[in-house]
């Protein structure tokens, strides 16, 4: 009997995830020709990880051995714009905007990985320089590459849901808002 490594099953699971997500599969013309084996697993994981956020770049620091992933996407930009708009309209400080806290929670939950030797962060404030983004840091002992595509997808889906809620509370769509915006927040701010 052939000895199949766990990568075979991880690969099958990842491929199913890609197949079920039209957004991912659309941009992947070579999908059908990828072999179902261990060698292709790393390739698929990496290609998938870099294809979820619209702009993904990574930088490797040879001195520290740390790789930094910078994840930007129009969905994240939209979230920050909607937050800024809400804060202006309601006179809120960033620190008491529940949608910002929820975004942080989305990122925390998305990056609950089984692997170790990683960290993450974000630049979502109006005061942050450069493009708004989510950051992921891994060092040489990080072995959870296959977990990143799902983590990135969960985070981006979380931003999409928060944008829907923000648009509702700002009256930009017809969905009933989850949070009512009490006047006390304006006074507290």
């Amino acid at each position: 009997m052939e000895d199949l490594s766990s990568y075979f099953f991880h690969m099958l699971y990842l491929a199913k995830t890609v197949h079920d997500n039209p957004r991912l599969k659309k941009g992947w013309p070579s999908f059908n020709s990828i072999p179902l084996d261990e060698d292709a697993f790393y390739e698929l994981s990496m290609e998938l990880a870099v294809s979820i956020f619209e702009d993904t770049s990574s930088y490797y620091n040879e001195e520290s051995g740390i790789e930094t992933w910078v994840l930007s996407d129009p969905m994240v930009d939209r979230f920050c714009e909607l937050c800024a708009r809400l804060e202006t309209e309601k006179g809120l400080e960033e620190g008491i905007n529940p949608y910002r806290r929820n975004a942080e929670q989305v990122i925390h939950e998305g990056f609950r990985l089984n692997s170790y030797s990683y960290d993450y962060g974000w630049r979502l404030s109006a005061g942050d320089r450069g493009r708004w983004c989510v950051l992921f840091f891994s060092n040489e002992e990080f072995y959870g590459l296959e977990e990143l595509p799902m983590a990135f997808m969960e985070i981006l889906d979380g931003f999409q849901e928060l944008n829907r809620q923000l648009e509702a509370v700002l009256g930009l769509n017809k969905i009933v808002p989850i949070y009512s915006m009490p006047n006390e927040w304006k006074e507290a701010a």
Binding site: M1, E2, D3, L4, S6, F8, F9, L12, Y13, A15, K16, T17, H19, D20, F31, N32, S33, I34, P35, L36, D37
Partner: protein, 97 residues
């Protein structure tokens, strides 16, 4: 170590014909079209797979089944090795079969 081949043969013939590793709860498509061909050394590409025939949650169940199957095959191989190592011994008196 002595091995009674006649008794072993009797036990084998008395054994019920059934799957030693039950495949209950395993998606039949994954079993027949993905796992079995791979165990037989057949090479598959993602384009060969009908992804609508199973759910993502079926994959961990398939992996658990494979682990049980692999463990069983290892045990069987070990048993076969043990049998093969038993040296043949002559009977004390001549016997006609």
């Amino acid at each position: 170590m002595k091995l009674n081949l006649k008794l072993l043969s009797t036990r084998f013939s008395q054994a019920k014909e059934q799957l030693y590793v039950p495949d209950d709860g395993v998606n039949p498509y994954l079993l027949e079209h993905i796992l079995r061909p791979n165990l037989e050394g057949e090479f598959l590409r993602l384009g060969d797979i009908d992804f609508d025939a199973f759910e993502a949650d079926d994959v961990p169940a398939l992996e658990e089944y494979y682990d049980r199957l692999y463990k069983t095959s290892q045990n069987l191989a070990q048993f076969a090795q043990t049998v093969a190592r038993v040296p043949p011994a002559p009977k004390a008196a001549r016997v006609f079969c």
